[in-house]
């Protein structure tokens, strides 16, 4: 998976591209930890280019949300593709995150 970051003053966008799964764990965690250390705790995760998401990735999203909230921020999920959105809804992530469609 490719991860790119666009830092802003109020909100930082993390764009994910490809398969978001168990093999992405380290890269995603390091990205979020780096942003938190730099003081960016309001994150928008752009999921528009994510073609696949698994249970490990769902766990990573929850941990990111927990850590950002501890730092006074928030995680917003932006534009998930249809099937990814279906998985998010099945797991009630639309009740845990703000999901922009």
């Amino acid at each position: 998976m490719d991860i790119s970051v666009m830092e802003g003053s109020d909100n930082t966008t993390v764009a994910l591209r490809g398969r978001f799964d168990f093999q992405t764990h380290l890269e995603f965690r390091r990205t979020v930890e780096g942003l938190l250390r730099a003081g960016h705790s309001a994150l928008t995760l752009d999921l528009s280019e994510v073609s696949f998401i698994d249970s490990s990735a769902l766990g990573m999203l929850l941990l990111a949300r927990e850590n950002c909230e501890k730092a006074g921020g928030v995680v917003v999920l932006n534009r998930p593709q249809e099937y990814v959105d279906k998985v998010l809804k099945l797991c009630h992530f639309d009740q845990l995150f703000q999901v922009l469609r």
């Binding site: 696949f52 929850l62 998985v87 797991c91």
Partner: protein, 145 residues
């Protein structure tokens, strides 16, 4: 020529396929197995919804087998079987672990818990799921009826 193209788009290329193989318990082999099943389903012209469901559920079953069953030990194997036919998909995944008590497995979600969604997703996306061998083998299926 136009009618040949149209027939090809409407009808599956083959009536059925049986895949049965064993892979080493590694992430690379796990991904290759999922890709092979997905490619076969696409080649057989399964509807995209079924391809996506099967892809996710096989992936999740293999993750469980690799990490929980085989303790991520590359010397162990995972046996995979897929029976694909129009209107019916059956997949089974068996690891070499010690098994577990299926009654301990979550069928519902703890909302904020980062773990425990693999089997939940399988149960939601498949029409039937059976756990055998004290938890070392999962058999799951999609069917039209």
């Amino acid at each position: 020529m136009a009618s040949m193209e149209s027939n090809r788009a409407e009808a599956p290329l083959r009536a059925s396929a049986e895949l049965r193989f064993a892979i080493p318990s590694t992430p690379v082999a796990l991904n290759a197995a999922v890709n092979m099943v997905r490619s076969t389903m696409e080649w057989m012209a399964f509807e995209q919804d079924w391809v996506s469901r099967a892809e996710l559920c096989l992936h999740e079953a293999l993750l469980n087998a690799h990490f929980h069953g085989n303790d991520a030990d590359a010397k162990r194997e995972i046996r995979v079987g897929c029976s694909l036919a129009p209107g019916k998909v059956e997949m089974d995944v068996e690891d070499e672990g010690q098994g577990y008590d299926p009654r301990q497995c979550l069928s519902t979600l703890r909302k904020g818990d980062p773990h425990g969604r693999g089997l939940y997703l399988i149960r939601r996306f498949m029409n039937s799921v059976a756990i055998h061998g004290n938890g070392t083998r999962v058999v799951m299926s999609l069917s039209k009826e």
